[in-house]
Amino acid sequence: MLIKLTGGTVYDPAHRVNGRVHDLYIQDGRIVDPPAGARVDQEYDLRGMVVMAGAIDMHTHIGGGKVNIARTLLPEDHRADPVAHTEHLRSGCGHAAPSTLTTGYRYAEMGFTAAFEPAVLPVNARQAHMEMGDIPILDKGGYVMLGSDDFLLRMMHDGADQKAINDYVAFTLNASQCIGVKVVNPGGISAFKFNQRALDLDEEHTYYGVTPRQVLKVLATAVNELAVPHPLHVHGCNLGVPGNVETTLKTISGIEGLPIHLTHIQFHSYGTEGDFNFSSGAARIAEAINANPNVTVDVGQILFGQTVTASGDAMHQHANAGHAHPHKWVCMDIECDAGCGVVPFRYRDKNFVNALQWAIGLEIFLLVEDPWRVFLTTDHPNGAPFTSYPHLIRLLMDRSFRNEQLSRLHPEAQRMTTLASIEREYSLYEIAVMTRAAAAELVGLSDRGHLGAGAAADITVYVPDDDREKMFSRPKYVFKDGRLVVRDGQVVDVVWGTTHVVKPEYDPGIEKRLASYFDRYQTMKLDNFIIQADEISEDGRGSVTIHPCWGGRGV
């Protein structure tokens, strides 16, 4: 079947198309070149409308143990936001931690067609995949979490060579069916289990004698040498601690040119100036990002309201537990791999720290010059639920709206930020870069995030509106793999996306070593630890798409 999208204004940054009117053709779920003389089966008149590829959220917590813990912990979150079933859709509930099906519907209704879970614990990866397998419409994938696991720290303690570590990283990527590697508070989650309550970049783990800097170095090197397209995904040291801007700057300089992605950088950009000993380090961070082309960031913007923070960083979730709202929280030890902490939280605009966090996030968005290296996230649900993306886009695209919002915040926070003086407004092209083209490239998807011939027909069509929040919260059409799934902001058809993975090669010798390690220390055998592709596809909905290890944008 040949579908023609006629007369839309196309924004396709991967091909440097900035608002040019042209037609698109879809055949068998793919975008094709205009076929000569073929009969068009269906035509959509998109004159006056904005056409982009489907949006990609490259960092959102939508699967895995911590999300389920958040759901279990917060029945009031379900109660406050019930969703009734309709003819096409199943029921669900939840605002900060919505149920799987509702997650898929809501993402699609905002024009998103892919989302990546950034904290898949190897030992818990099966559950993460099963949960993501229950999210409709979206393509998904995960970044497997290493860096606080006993096996790696042991290897480093014993002085294992980089080749062995590469094998271990490659094996874990294969076994957990993931597309990238993430490190959370490198070594710190493990240090927390050994009663350390902080671990700075050059501080030694009391048991293994390893520093976070070394962990970052070996993992970034491993990811680079394995040519995994997605650079090492780093949730750095000292999350949320005032003064952590120094640590973040040292992390950037200490990685020595290796490609890294610093995630939710807003939480790592705090200074200690001012009466409250809390200030913005956004300008210095943005300067460092602008100067280091090997570094990409996503922001982790906070937006005001009730949410829940779910993180593998048990150390800092433990430290923040006193701020829990409502007053309850969970901290977990997850075998030899890591830990996790879930703390419900309400960001308030009249609170100095929260107000300044909001401003810091926006400062980073606006001061980082290259939209190809800064990504639109709220670190769902840690900064705000993903449903607030349209609001965030409006804050970026509309200076007067931004300043009007700023004027309502805690007055001291307004004095401590330069946000009001920043004139930059994002263009539609730049939004398309950060949410489509650059995100696909960063994750390593060659056939998504653009509208060239051969790309998957994940397409979002918006009706232009001066109120960008309205425009981005209600697309006119969303196509997923060539099928119309959303019309006028409502899901009209449910399809199932694929799971994107990479399969770097490794020396099978590592499996033998791991087998005896698993027999001795883990709750499961190595054979059960390894997730087969069949397990993802056997329910008839999911599938696995393997992407080549082409090295990514590299440096």
């Binding site: 917060l74 029945p75 009031e76 109660r79 079933h85 409502p326």
Partner: protein, 271 residues
């Protein structure tokens, strides 16, 4: 208006429509068109009830075995609802005013999170009378729940204001996590009464086994008990004279919390 159950639902029926706020001013035909949920299927009130008359003054009578009918009087703010027979769960949930009288027994969650009005159960009530739902710290915010028979577990869980009176025995965890308010049990308290209570008063005329985190203060004759019991006698409770003026032990607790709650246990002679 009179509603008579003519078809017993196979699975629980969620009938938020049976509430004077919704029915007042409606003709019988209009009322029969109101939506109810039979399991997960939407149905009409008239599919299960025959409707007669109008509710001009806000008086609605419902009869039949309603033990599978839930959420009757949900969010009710005015009028009178009389239920002749047994009734299902969540009766008078989030009720703000008006009066509900049940001649038979009631299911679980009677007066969940209610903030005003009065619910009277002539028979027994299930678990979670005047409770908070799971995950919410505060339950009943005001009003009265009067149960003539026995009640199940967790009576007044998280209660902050109002009165709950049980004519018979109550189950385990009576007054658990109470923030304030009054619970009177004429019969025996179950296990662990007042566990985690912050403030509030729990009164019983029978001996009870208390948690070790409750401390004995004194034995005295609090005049408020006389006031409360005379009030309950007017509402139809059988209250013997010796309980009106008799001595009561005062225990304070729960000391794992603020220790500002009290349990008053009758300590006089019995005949």
């Amino acid at each position: 208006m009179r509603l008579t159950l003519h078809a017993v639902p196979e699975v629980p029926l969620e009938a938020e429509a049976i509430c004077p706020d919704m029915l007042m001013g409606l003709s019988a035909d209009k009322a029969a068109e109101l939506p109810v949920f039979h399991g997960n299927e939407k149905a009409r009130l008239g599919d299960f009830f025959s409707v007669q008359g109008e509710a001009r003054d806000g008086t609605v009578t419902v009869e039949g075995d309603l033990s599978k009918v839930k959420l009757i009087g949900n969010g009710m703010s005015t009028g009178r609802l009389r239920i002749e027979g047994d009734v299902g769960a969540h009766l008078g949930a989030e009720m703000r005013g008006g009066e509900i009288v049940v001649t038979g027994n009631a299911g679980d969650w009677v007066g969940r999170e209610m903030s005003g009005g009065r619910i009277t159960i002539r028979g027994d009530a299930g678990h979670m009378v005047g409770c908070a739902v799971r995950g919410v710290p505060v339950g009943m915010l005001g009003g009265e729940i009067i149960v003539h028979g026995n009640a199940g577990n967790e009576v007044g869980h998280g209660m902050r204001r109002g009165l709950i009176a049980i004519g018979g025995d109550s189950g385990d965890f009576t007054g658990v996590s109470m923030k304030a308010g009054t619970v009177v049990v004429m019969g025996r308290l179950g296990m662990r009464p007042g566990a985690g209570m912050v403030r509030g008063t729990l009164i019983s005329t029978q001996p009870a086994e208390l948690l070790p985190t409750f401390n004995y203060d004194t034995t005295y004759r609090p005049p408020i008990i006389r006031t409360i019991l005379i009030y309950l006698r007017k509402l139809g409770f059988t209250v013997e004279d010796l309980y009106l003026n008799g001595p009561y032990q005062r225990w304070s607790g729960d000391s794992i919390e603020l220790n500002k709650g009290e349990i008053l246990l009758y300590a006089g002679t019995r005949q």
